[in-house]
Amino acid sequence: MRCAGAAPLLGSRPGELDPTEEALLNAHLSTCESCRARQADQAAVAGIIEDGLLLEASRRDFTDFADGVMARIPASAWRGGAPVGGLERLRAFLRRHRVLAAASALAPALAALALYLYIGRTTGAGPSELAVEVTSEDLAAVVLETSDGPVILVGEASDGT
């Protein structure tokens, strides 16, 4: 097998290659440093796709999203009447308006790196169940769990936190 034949086999997951392909690929990789390096490059690119897209999603203001969805579902679908009425939309607008008004007073950052930090949900019946989702531009977020509850700190990304 030559490099050209090995290339499409890179980036496969366990079980996706049949035994012949697997054997040929491993044989080739054991002798070809270029292809091993290529394999690493492929994995690096694959890994960053998800990160990058989720980062992009975290930059966007989703305040109105759910309202928008709920508004497109007919009220008759729910038991108990329409959850999204004029009042709800007004509230959503006020909520975003307040944030926007405050944000417009900020000096724009030259290179805003949005850092999305998600601390996983602890499932189970413990009383200290905690889920924290923090989205911040420019700053790194750290969550400290204490017996009384979480402490959320934000700091310069280069702080070494």
Binding site: A7, E50, F62, I73
Partner: protein
């Protein structure tokens, strides 16, 4: 105690709007990420994402509890996104089998991987590149961008991709290789790394 997705689906099926709203809020960003990866345009991705949730609601009764809600809605999202993409431009056939030898002649294979590091705790470079990723992704041709997003966001296997896209498994595999290679060139450009195979065309 927070309810699981399946419990929320159950309640939403029973007509509870707050349960459905909670499902939306939980999954909205990831759904948007999938849509954005495929349709490129942010506003379009927003619409596609909302469409996905509306469609999910219409089909709540059909949702089977063995599957995960997340998987279900991501598949719906990518389907809608691909449909939208197809409507915008007609699809071109783009069969690639073996990778041409010329494509593999790069200056320094492995440089990008080394620079990014394999440690999930990101290096500064990796964080920066993540920030540019969406833009870089936009520069890929539709077929390459789509297959990358389906693979890396939806987690589809070669078989599933072949079925979904209506192409042979071999084409799936080489197309993925080409797509990643192109991303590699783009990302190396952003990072100022000696770009491998920058003469790479098609």
């Amino acid at each position: 105690m927070a309810l699981s997705d399946l419990e929320l689906v159950d309640r939403a099926r029973g007509g509870d709007p707050e349960a459905f709203r909670e499902l939306v809020v939980r999954h909205q960003r990831r759904v948007y990420a999938v849509a954005l990866g495929i349709v490129k345009d942010r506003d379009l991705a927003w619409d596609v994402s909302q469409d996905a949730f509306v469609r999910v609601h219409q089909h709540l009764a059909e949702f089977r509890d063995e599957a995960s809600f997340a998987t279900w809605i991501h598949r719906i999202t990518s389907r809608i996104a691909i449909d939208v993409l197809r409507k915008e431009r007609p699809s071109r056939r783009n069969d690639v089998a073996d990778v041409p030898e010329a494509v593999l002649r790069e200056a320094a294979p492995g440089v990008l991987a080394t620079a990014l590091g394999t440690d999930p705790q990101e290096t500064v470079l990796r964080r920066e590149l993540s920030g540019c990723l969406a833009d870089a992704l936009q520069q890929l041709p539709d077929v390459h961008r789509t297959i990358l997003v389906l693979r890396e966001m939806d987690g589809l296997s070669y078989e599933e991709l072949a079925e979904r896209l209506g192409i042979p498994r071999g084409t799936v595999m080489s197309r993925l290789f080409h797509a990643r290679r192109k991303m590699q060139v783009l990302l190396a450009g952003y990072a100022g790394i000696d770009a491998p195979g920058s003469e790479d065309r098609s």
